[in-house]
Amino acid sequence: MHELLGQLFQVGFFAALIRIATPLIFATLGELFAERAGILNLGIEGIMMLAAMTGFSTAYFSGSLWLGVAAAMATGVLAGLLMGFLTVSLGLSQHVSGIGVTLLCSGLSFYFYRLIFGQPSSIPKITAFKPLPIPGLSAIPVIGPVLFDHFSLVYLAFALVPLAAWILRATPWGLNLRTVGENPHAAFTAGVSVIRVRYQALMLSGALMGIAGAFLSMAQYNAYTFGVISGRGWVCIALVVFGQWNPWKSAAGALLFAFIDALQLRLQASSFNLPYQVFLMMPFVLTIVGMALVSRNAKAPAALLTPFRKEER
């Protein structure tokens, strides 16, 4: 047993944990911004899927990974605008709109991937992002390889957590966003355009989900597959609830999920005589358990799921 633990918790394990957490942090923060503005963005799974495809394809043809990331973000922004049109402008059900956006975006990602690449005998691949060791820091034993020898997007994700917390807490836009999510009529009375702030939140939300998708197809893997997201978007919605709509706690939730995911990957490779799918199942089961533990006391933004109409009070 001791030997097994030693095998599990090596430097490589923790480095993998950080890498697995990265797309979850991007997408969770994206979902968090939307929800703090009062919109449940169930388009997340599809947006990540479509962005993973557009990002990958752009990188494949342009040879520029960063152009790919930009394309993925643009994809997310467009999907965010669509979500905004449905739920903000038209005031339609956020649940059904989000599922519609997910179905549409995942359909589009399959369709365009097949249109662009056909059915080749070998999967098209790109040269994925290379780790960018931080000079000096990456040489520290243990901590260096775990924290400071990663893709540049990994550092960006971790830098975004305090940034998101600061934006929400201290900037005027963050204050407007929170008011719009808690009490849109008060925000309106104070002269804030509820519609505009919600659109902005959804565009930001989509952009972050886009980076998350791009990370999966361009850094974590070097190809796009139909199973590239496989439920990670839905997990991020759970992480926002688990993190009580707080960027720090949600990111901590993402790390916890990544820990379990990294653990199951190691266990799959270990000598346990169990089908590997049992381990694949584990993070999802624990996500539900985690949600059950916190949801009773969770305090969602008060105006979440309610469309805003000026004339109705």
Binding site: Y111, F284, M291
Partner: protein
């Protein structure tokens, strides 16, 4: 001068129930024709293949009805759940639960032959209902969001099923990750000779009518609608809101479970990875297009069965990717949601006089 004014409606005229889905479908096809053009194909040829190949011969028509069967069940499952605003996105997983239960019962050598078909149906109903109870209990007891849990449970049961199929449940004869075949006596009878039209197709039609009766003529149905429309008022009217949500989940899950039973007992005779190519998710689109009316689910399911079957033929003939079917589903859901605005508002054309 002519101006457009949007005003809210008091009542929804009856003709809208039929025209709205048609409008939504028309809008969807117009929007998706852009994708066909991008693929360099002729829009009319592509749509002709998409729609007519599934209806062209008697054989294809029967195949389309067989394809529509699981979609009717999942469409009904979603329609019942959404009526109560219980957001069951888990029909996919409940279908698998029903399929596994059916495949397990259908392969029992110890059971008398006569009991196999009814046993599979009952087991499938129970398994689907139980799996749907998980998000319902989590929602009512722990206030956990039903959308997320019912979605995550789809992944859990899929991986669980694959673990079984890769492990103790693997068919020793084939060596593939498939379950052993059910017994011959357990197979649903074929209703039309030399076709695959099985008992499940009839069961789906009966289920549609039964669900309609349940929703329109019974207290349970009334309670489901009352909770969906206004939980507070429903509570004052004496309904236990949590109890109604649990009952809704059970009915919804049972219907989705039957989709799995039909696929196992009537079509595949075993459980395998590709058992459901997303029937549970298509059920959401179908239920919305049917405006959550159980009778409307049948034509809506048939429509998507045509598209799913026709997409292969269209792809072979024109080179348009088969995934156009998926895009159509997503677009149709969004278009229908937008079209539903016309039930609440109307556009009035007014003439202004220059007085």
């Amino acid at each position: 001068m002519i101006g457009l004014r949007i005003e809210s409606r008091e009542q929804t005229p009856l003709w809208l129930n039929v025209t709205l889905p048609l409008m939504a479908v028309a809008a969807t096809l117009i929007l998706c024709s852009g994708l066909i053009l991008l693929a360099g194909a002729n829009v009319f040829t592509a749509y002709e293949k998409l729609f007519l190949s599934a209806l062209s011969t008697r054989f294809n028509l029967v195949e389309t009805a067989v394809k529509a069967t699981p979609l009717i069940f999942t469409g009904l499952a979603v329609a019942v759940a959404f009526k109560a605003r219980f957001w069951n996105i888990g029909a996919e997983g409940q279908l698998l639960a029903g399929a596994m239960a059916a495949a397990f019962v259908g392969a029992r050598e110890s059971l008398p032959a006569w009991s196999l078909c009814p046993g599979m149906i009952l087991a499938g109903i129970a398994a689907g209902a139980l799996w749907a109870m998980i998000p319902a209990v989590l929602k009512t007891r722990f206030k956990v969001d039903d959308v997320v849990t019912s979605l995550l449970l789809n992944f859990i049961i899929f991986y669980g099923m694959m673990a079984l199929l890769d492990g103790p449940w693997k068919d020793p004869l084939s060596g593939y990750p498939d379950s052993p075949d059910i017994r011959m006596d357990a197979e649903f009878p074929i209703l039309l000779r030399a076709t695959r039209l099985h008992l499940g197709v009839l069961l789906a039609a009966i289920a549609s009518f039964g669900t309609w009766l349940l929703m329109r003529r019974t207290t349970v149905g009334f309670a489901i609608q009352a909770v969906g429309e206004n939980p507070v008022a429903a509570r004052y009217a004496g309904f236990s809101v949590n109890g109604v949500i649990l009952a809704t989940a059970a009915v919804s899950g049972a219907l989705a479970g039957l989709a799995g039973v039909g696929e196992v007992a009537g079509l595949h005779f075993q459980v395998m990875a590709g058992l459901s190519p997303g029937y549970g998710y298509t059920g959401i689109v179908i239920a919305m297009l049917a405006r959550l009316n159980p009778l409307g689910v049948v034509p809506a399911a048939f429509f998507f069965a045509v598209i799913i079957t026709g997409a292969e033929a269209m792809s072979r003939a024109t080179g348009v990717p088969v995934f156009l079917a998926d895009v159509i589903q997503g677009t149709a859901l969004i278009a229908m949601l937008v079209a539903l605005l016309f039930t609440r508002y109307r556009i009035r054309i007014r003439r202004f006089s220059h007085a």
